[in-house]
């Protein structure tokens, strides 16, 4: 036994002379804890660095969209990602970045049916970039607007009527029939697997204020009621 000196006075150490007792375990635990606590933000930082190194910004702006001209819209090369964390599901981003499949049938914002193929990145990097993109949020997205429980019975029928007939969304967006057949227009992004990709709250917020997320976008402003927008959003994210 030896005396240990602390501010409050002396006390007897319960450790034997020449050993370090529990301190290595405590220190190690603290390091592991700190590492685990810090790793998500480290991954985000890595993701941001990869985003910059791969020059993703040359096609994807991460600044909030500006209200420009139609000509400027036509010259855009890829979607604005300033609200990617509100729009996309992180798990989907991770998978898609590692193995991208076209969501658009056209070259971005054109009428050419020859879309560019998105570059694939290694799985680990994809996870880090997905983590970074998930931090890019838009305060206008209403959290909790669309319940994760989905639509049931009559509500689903009403939503389908809005989507198919009243607003005829499938005239521009491809969807999947119950038999698994892809039908619909090709000018807008494919929605057949939208539920894997999009967050319902973002879909709702987009439907309520499309100009905020995509000024001068091709999709018409429908001026939907809250109820209509919630139904359509819930219906869209049920596509899987």
């Amino acid at each position: 036994m030896r005396l240990c000196r602390l501010k409050g006075g002396d006390f007897l150490c319960k450790i034997k002379e020449g050993t370090m007792g529990r301190w290595p375990i405590i220190t190690l635990t603290a390091i592991v804890f700190l590492f685990l606590w810090a790793s998500p933000s480290l991954a985000q930082k890595e993701g941001e660095a990869i985003f910059k190194a791969k020059d993703c910004g040359s096609c994807h702006s991460i600044s909030p969209p500006k209200f420009g001209s139609i000509e400027e819209k036509m010259n855009e090369k890829g979607p604005n990602l300033s609200y990617a964390g509100s729009k996309y599901k992180e798990e989907w981003l991770k998978k898609w970045l590692a193995k991208p499949e076209n969501i658009h049938y056209t070259k971005y914002n054109t009428l050419s049916l020859k879309p560019d193929k998105h570059v694939a990145i290694p799985e680990k990097e994809a996870g880090e970039v997905a983590k970074y993109l998930s931090t890019l949020k838009d305060a206008k997205v209403v959290s909790g607007a669309v319940s994760s429980g989905g639509l049931m019975g009559g509500e689903k029928v009403k939503a389908k009527t809005l989507f198919d007939k009243k607003k005829a969304c499938y005239a521009c967006h491809t969807v999947k029939t119950t038999a698994g057949k892809l039908i619909g227009g090709r000018s807008g992004p494919d929605l057949s697997m939208a539920g894997e990709r999009l967050n319902g709250d973002w879909v709702y917020s987009y439907l309520k204020a499309p100009d905020h997320f995509e000024p001068k976008g091709r999709s018409p402003v429908f001026a939907l009621s809250d109820d209509e927008a919630k139904k359509i959003a819930a219906y869209v994210v049920s596509f899987k």
Partner: protein, 121 residues
């Protein structure tokens, strides 16, 4: 004196340009608007063959270059009504959306004129 003559000459040239080509600027804008908002269904040349003209849709997009059909249509409803209120406003398919919340009045008027130019009616 020379400067005054130059200014007058330029003014005459500009005035002549506006008189001979009155719709030149609006047509240029309208063509861009048509390409951006309408061509995905109606086709870049207005023939109703845009990339959204797929067989699963219950109706095909209107061929804006079909003069006879377009004359019949415009006799019933001005094109601007369809642009503003969509198909539903004139008792036609709701697949044609209403554009009044998306476009300005000037933009809709420009498109109305452009469709009249396409159908030659």
């Amino acid at each position: 004196m020379k400067r005054l003559a130059l200014v007058v000459t330029l003014a005459i040239i500009l005035l002549w340009g506006f008189l001979v080509f009155p719709g030149i600027s609006i047509s240029a804008d309208a063509k861009g608007l048509y390409k951006w908002y309408c061509a995905s269904c109606h086709g870049e040349e207005g023939k109703g063959d845009g990339i959204n003209s797929v067989k699963e849709l219950p109706v095909s997009p209107t061929n804006h270059t079909d003069t006879a059909e377009m004359k019949k249509r415009v006799a019933k409803n001005p094109f601007i009504d369809t642009i503003k209120g969509g198909g539903a406003a004139i008792g036609k398919s709701e697949i044609m959306p209403a554009w009044e919340k998306t476009l300005t009045n000037e933009e809709m008027k420009a498109l109305d004129k452009y469709v009249h130019d396409l159908c030659k009616c």
